[in-house]
Symmetry: C2
């Protein structure tokens, strides 16, 4: 009777869809990789998402299938669509979040601003790209990268010699950016689309560390250009659900597309506590083709700080008494994952009127979970 | 590793603890009365909460035991405490929410303002109470009442003849009230206490229909007196977790205590979207003896309207497209319960700066779920 949403993948993004789905009244089922994952509470199946029969069995009896990650193979996705399963985002869109080379070519076709780039298949090809770009480049494996794994800044093809075995690579100019931004939009299968305010994201060691929403010093023009890029990509690629467009703001004040995520994204966690409709609720609504919620901020400023790694000497819970006592207005989110260096195990959100105070509050709270 | 909270009872109050518990990183387990209840997602056991062995088995392996309702018998609660289970609220406090006669006597001992009342055991006793109170009284069964069942306004003892078989009854003066209010406080076992702003509750046919937070036209004095009543009761009775004190504001501007609930309460649903820390998160924190969250409103006004009954001709979900399209900023909460006349099956929350607009918004959204 209730609408049923199936999520492939049991990580924290699936976990964080549980709360808004339960509140709205949507049944959530998760196909988890193994027992005890972040989204274990809603796990009704455990298995390999690369195996068609596993996913097919899971998809039976759900109204819509969506994802915690972008790793489900195209063949599996296309077979499900052929079965008549409502898959959102669908394989035609998702391929551009799965393969950065495909993405670059498609975004070029849409006329989107992006770094100069080339497909390189050997050292000679990379050397000529380097020669044309001041001797430095960012080289990326087209598939399977995350949290900066699969991204290297190189001056010599030797530095990615190990990667050429895997076939083609993406070479990009090393962008001289003043900061990184992210633009999120939500889009329904029936076409309705809403844009969130563009946010500033701060990466450390290739991993998202902090997000400020909306991006400080964001002119009307910046906000509009970012939203129009997000909208053009969502519509051009036929994205359904949440889309995040990672952007560079360059020293000469252009916006260039870095990459795409077609699912809830770390840059949108602030909205759980800072937006009228957070990205997890919005994703659930969008993929079920329900009318979208208001993406407006509830407060002038929201700041999200990731908990990376967590305490070496204990559990996240061991820090709850201290952090909750010191910061009664901060919202602590943890993912049920064991602490491990560099691992995303939770985040905190702070909201308020004064940016400096909100930044301080979020950082101070997150610091309680540090080593 | 994660903290584990066991909830006895699988209704909507247990259901609504799931979302904040998941977000904070607390494992929730529910002992449900039967399969398919509102809190089924977190149900790890099904059984009779009046049976000690059932509850005892469920309590094994949880850090703290709490409740969706107040119906677990004292003998069961006391046996669990003797076992060493951390039960919050504990039996000593909970008895005053289980029995309205016990409550009246105890509140009198605490000097709390309340309606005139008497324990009556037969028609003659009730007749003399009637004679002393202008010929009318409110008669209540001390135990097991909810949503106005177990409450009758009478002018003649005959009207409750069927109830005298059950033993003693509570007779109360028929209070001449201008409105009903509710004061919530949260209290930890270690003593920390926070008070929510007093709210106005509107009952229809003995059932909560709407809540406005904070109570309109609430003077500083009203707010302080209500908070001090809530605080005195929580401390006096040793309540742990959420306490709701239902109050009458009389025509001569006194506050009188109607009754107590020691759990999240319908009068606090607004806080899910309208408070920095909603009552469900607060209850989880309080019973686990974690520092309490900020109970302040996020916006000047919040209005909650219950969905009572639901569409006769279909499911709640059939109304989602229309309501979500018309009200993108309203938050819809449904409980996974089948529509049935008068049944609480969900609620909507609206928040904002302008009370009239917020009231309109919440009522208009809830109306989409009407028959
Ligand atoms: N062309 C570039 N010029 C400069 N810096 C870059 C470039 N491409 C990537 N980076 C830096 O490396 C980071 C990671 O790159 P990218 O987002 O492509 O990798 P990823 O592993 O898919 O990341 P994640 O999954 O964490 O978003 C970027 O956030 C940015 O800081
Ligand atoms: N003494 C009284 N004088 C006037 N009205 C009363 C009195 N007692 C109760 N009422 C009315 O009846 C309603 C229900 O009473 P009460 O709260 O005691 O019953 P209940 O069934 O336990 O309610 P619920 O579980 O819905 O809160 C009150 O909200 C109030 O409107
Ligand atoms: Mg990236
Ligand atoms: Mg009542």
């Amino acid at each position: 009777m209730a609408l049923t949403l199936g999520i492939v993948g049991g990580g924290q993004l699936a976990r964080m869809m549980i709360a808004p789905a339960v509140e709205l009244g949507v049944d959530v089922r998760v196909l988890a990789e193994e027992p005890g994952m972040a989204a274990a509470l809603a796990a009704t199946a455990t298995g390999d998402y690369r195996d068609l029969e596993t996913v097919r069995a899971f998809a039976r009896g759900v109204d819509v299938l969506t994802f915690d990650h972008e790793h489900v193979p195209q063949e599996v996705l296309r077979a499900l669509v052929a079965d008549g399963v409502r898959v959102h985002p669908g394989p035609d869109a998702l391929q551009f979040a799965q393969d950065k080379l495909l993405m670059r070519a498609r975004l070029a076709g849409l006329g989107m601003p992006q770094p100069e780039w080339a497909r390189v298949t050997d050292a000679a090809g990379l050397q000529s790209f380097l020669d044309e770009h001041g001797g430095r480049a960012v080289v990326k494996t087209p598939r399977g990268g995350y949290d900066g794994k699969g991204v290297r800044v190189v001056a010599d093809p030797e530095e990615v010699a190990d990667w050429f075995d895997g076939g083609e690579l993406l070479a990009e100019e090393l962008v001289d950016f003043t900061r990184e931004l992210a633009q999120q939009v939500a889009r329904r299968p029936s076409g309705q689309l809403v844009a969130y305010p563009v946010v500033e994201t701060v990466q450390r060691d290739g991993v998202c560390a902090e997000v400020i929403a909306p991006a400080p010093h964001g002119s009307t023009r910046l906000t509009e250009v970012a939203a129009s890029i997000g909208t053009a990509i969502a519509e051009g690629l036929g994205v359904t659900g949440m889309l995040a467009v990672e952007l560079f703001q360059t020293t000469d004040d252009r916006l260039l597309v870095n990459e795409l995520a077609m699912r809830p994204h770390n840059s949108g966690h602030w909205g759980q506590d800072g937006a009228v409709t957070g990205q997890f609720e919005q994703h659930v609504r969008a993929v079920l083709d329900l009318p979208l919620g208001d993406p407006a901020p509830r407060q002038p400023w929201s700041v999200m700080v990731n908990i990376l790694g967590g305490p070496a000497d204990g559990t996240l819970e061991s820090r709850f008494p201290a952090v909750l006592e010191a910061h009664p207005a901060v919202k602590v989110h943890t993912y049920g994952k064991a602490p491990r260096p560099g691992r995303k195990v939770g985040h905190v959100n702070a909201v308020g009127d004064d940016l400096d105070a909100v930044v301080y509050e979020a950082r101070a709270a997150a610091a309680f979970f540090a080593d």
